[in-house]
């Protein structure tokens, strides 16, 4: 009798995590314009406070999303089934895709840098976003698969 609610709690927590990852990924993407603009103005000793806050928020959000995808978040400590082997397999597939797209993006920037003058540091937020958002969205899609049935 007590087993079913536990399973339902896990189901709800899994769905919530999948949604949260997708939402965080979209928020991170939506910050791109502001962060790219802010990056040009922020220096160690100067720059406007608003730019520093935007860059700080971007870094915090990027790290939070990456950690959420890689570790499963705090809730998975309460529910070990949220970190079972299907989740670990989905995480591995998403991480592999993230590695591939990040390397491709870096190679693309490197080639572009050889052909045209490019201030690469300005595009680092874009590369970071690419390397975090793509696997995060893929992980979210994989996690939604298999929810129906049973």
């Amino acid at each position: 009798m007590s087993e079913a609610p536990n399973s339902n709690d896990v189901e709800k927590a899994l769905r919530r995590r999948s949604r949260a990852v997708a939402v965080l990924a979209v928020v991170l993407m939506s910050l791109q314009g502001a962060v790219l603009a802010a990056t040009e103005h922020v220096t160690l000793n100067g720059g406007r406070l608003v730019d520093k806050v935007q860059v700080g928020a971007f870094v915090f959000l990027a790290l939070a999303l990456m950690l959420n995808v890689l570790t499963g978040g705090r809730r998975s400590r309460k529910y070990p089934a949220m970190n079972d082997e299907l989740v670990r397999a989905n995480r591995a597939r998403a991480s592999k895709l993230g590695y591939v797209v990040t390397m491709l993006a870096l190679i693309g920037v490197y080639v572009a840098m050889l052909l045209v003058p490019l201030d690469v540091y300005k595009y680092i937020p874009l590369l970071v976003t690419f390397g975090i958002v793509v696997p995060a969205l893929y992980f979210s899609v994989l996690e939604r698969k298999g929810e129906k049935g049973g």
């Binding site: 339902n8 189901e11 899994l14 082997e85 299907l86 996690e143 698969k145 298999g146 049973g150």
Partner: protein, 69 residues
């Protein structure tokens, strides 16, 4: 050499015991979704999980999982 496909009789074995996916999931400490994807052949479980499933259903692993050419 072509890789052999894995067929499973997990759903039949579970149904015979009158268990839901959620109940079996709790018995082997995974999510219902994991049971669902194994039953549908979307996810191939590890040896550990296959052994846990067999133990939870009172079957041998080879009764639940077979290779097909």
């Amino acid at each position: 050499m072509a890789e052999a496909a894995l067929r499973n009789r997990l759903k039949e074995a579970r149904s015979e015991l009158g268990l839901t996916q959620a109940e079996l999931a709790v018995r082997v400490s995974v999510s219902r979704k994991t049971i669902n994807t194994v039953e549908n052949g979307v996810f191939v479980p590890s040896t550990t999980l296959a052994l846990k499933l067999a133990a939870a259903l009172g079957r041998k692993v080879e009764d639940l999982f077979q290779l097909t050419e």
